[in-house]
């Protein structure tokens, strides 16, 4: 637990000092929303409400991939990653620390994007703010659990920035189905489909446990 806190604090401190990941994620997510808005058939107000949840999650996934790519790219400088690997601690906890900092940044980006999105697409998210936040959080946990593991892999391959989405997207389908269905239910009649929430929770649990155990082999120097 101490390790988790130490890695999280280190990541947040370096983010606070450099302030490069969060702004990049925010601007990228907002730009994605704008592009998606114009990718829809015209109309002066709002977009197609049926498509809104899916488009919002596309923006979230893009922002998450951008942020997680940076998370490990920073560690490569000055061989900080080797330092982490040499630390005489269980690497699963290092993973959780990394994932927690990714999660925190992603949730901030999600909330900001949601506000912008609800204005541009004419979707009322304010009325269901709390349950929406819950769904966004569940989705973000799964995204960062799988994403942090594969960012650790992709950063040490050729074409690192390209490799993360290639590895991650095929694995994200169940998460996206759950998150989009839950959000759609919430926007349509104020309550999320319990099956979708269940799927989100199971996905989160599976990838948290698997990544916790498998990170050992990813960080192995």
């Amino acid at each position: 637990m101490n390790i988790l806190r130490a890695v999280l604090a280190k990541d947040l401190l370096s983010e606070w000092r450099s302030r490069d990941r969060l702004p990049a994620m925010l601007v990228f997510a907002l730009l994605t929303v704008v592009v998606l808005r114009f990718a829809q058939p015209g109309g002066s107000l709002g977009g197609d409400p049926a498509q809104a949840p899916g488009l919002l999650w596309v923006a979230y996934v893009f922002a998450a991939v951008l942020g997680m790519n940076r998370a490990f790219a920073l560690e490569l400088e000055n061989d900080a990653l080797a330092g982490l690997a040499l630390a005489p601690v269980d690497r699963g906890w290092i993973f959780l620390g990394k994932a927690a900092s990714n999660l925190l940044l992603l949730v901030v980006a999600q909330i900001t994007t949601a506000v912008f999105f609800s204005v541009l697409f004419g979707v009322d998210l304010a009325g269901v703010a709390l349950p929406f936040l819950g769904i966004a959080f569940l989705g973000a946990v799964g995204l960062t659990a799988a994403g942090t593991l594969f960012a650790g892999i992709s950063v040490r391959t050729r074409y690192r920035e390209v490799m993360l989405p290639l590895l991650l997207f095929p694995l994200l389908v169940p998460l996206l189905v759950g998150a989009v269905q839950a959000t759609a239910g919430l926007l349509a009649d104020g309550r999320a489909d319990p099956g979708a929430l269940q799927l989100l929770c199971v996905y989160d649990a599976v990838f948290l446990i698997a990544s916790f155990l498998l990170f050992e082999y990813v960080l192995d120097e």
């Binding site: 074409y159 590895l167 694995l171 169940p174 189905v177």
Partner: protein, 238 residues
């Protein structure tokens, strides 16, 4: 000819190649005969016979993906390179059969359903797995050969198999219509189809085994050539 680095598992795999090749010839000849002689369907004519390739290819593909994960897990556990070679071979041969399955499906569906692609759960699931193992191949070719690449691939192969049950629930939730028969036991196969189906399945699985063995051997040779080249280079340098 005897390589001291060859493991017992590898020697057995090599020795099995010949007999399996003969078995492949025999079983595919039998399958071809039985399938040709199987009665034509009242509605579909001979078209339905693609099933004798389509369904077994799916079995072989799933077997390949499970073996990829098993090989990866054994490699991480035992740290023995031969399991990584097995995982590579299984992933590639599995992807081949998965491709065969995905290609034969639409050929049949276009004629029988009138549409080449439908959002049927089993179809979507196989297509998603196909993408996962395509990414597995990319991961291998984009990372430097060596223990690190093997570890990364093992992690990804294990995650890919974890995805199978999750996808199953997701597609159910997504609302795909089930157009595939629930099970392929005797009841759901028509009269006179059981035998060719069995023959096709056996022949396909033997073909899978043969290709797996050959690919396993090739991977072993590739690793040795790479190592010999490195040794030579370091010998010149010193």
């Amino acid at each position: 000819m005897n390589d001291p680095t060859e493991t017992r598992f590898e020697r057995r795999a090599l020795a099995a190649e010949g007999p399996v090749a003969i078995a492949l010839l025999v079983t595919s000849a039998i399958a071809a005969l039985v399938i040709v002689r199987a009665p034509a369907d009242v509605v579909q004519g001979v078209l339905y016979k693609i099933l004798f390739v389509h369904a077994p290819a799916a079995f072989a593909a799933y077997l390949g993906f499970v073996l990829t994960a098993a090989g990866g897990a054994l490699y991480l556990w035992k740290n023995d390179e031969q399991w990584d070679r097995l995982a590579v071979a299984a992933a590639e041969v599995g992807l081949l059969f998965c491709t065969l399955n995905i290609v034969t499906g639409p050929i049949w569906a276009k004629a029988a359903w009138g549409k080449a692609w439908v959002w049927d759960p089993r179809l979507v699931m196989t297509a998603l797995l196909w993408l996962v193992y395509l990414a597995y191949g990319l991961l291998r070719s984009f990372s430097e050969e060596g223990p690190r690449a093997a570890r990364f691939a093992a992690v990804y192969g294990i995650a890919g198999v974890l995805l199978i049950p999750l996808n199953y629930f997701a597609i159910d939730l997504f609302g795909g219509r089930a157009l595939h028969p629930e099970n392929l036991e005797r009841q759901s196969l028509g009269v006179g189809i059981g035998q060719p189906f069995l023959a096709g399945t056996i022949a396909t699985l033997v073909a899978f085994l043969y290709l797996l063995l050959v690919r396993f051997e090739v991977q072993g040779l590739r690793v040795r050539v790479e190592r010999a080249r490195l040794d030579e280079a370091s010998g010149e340098a010193s």
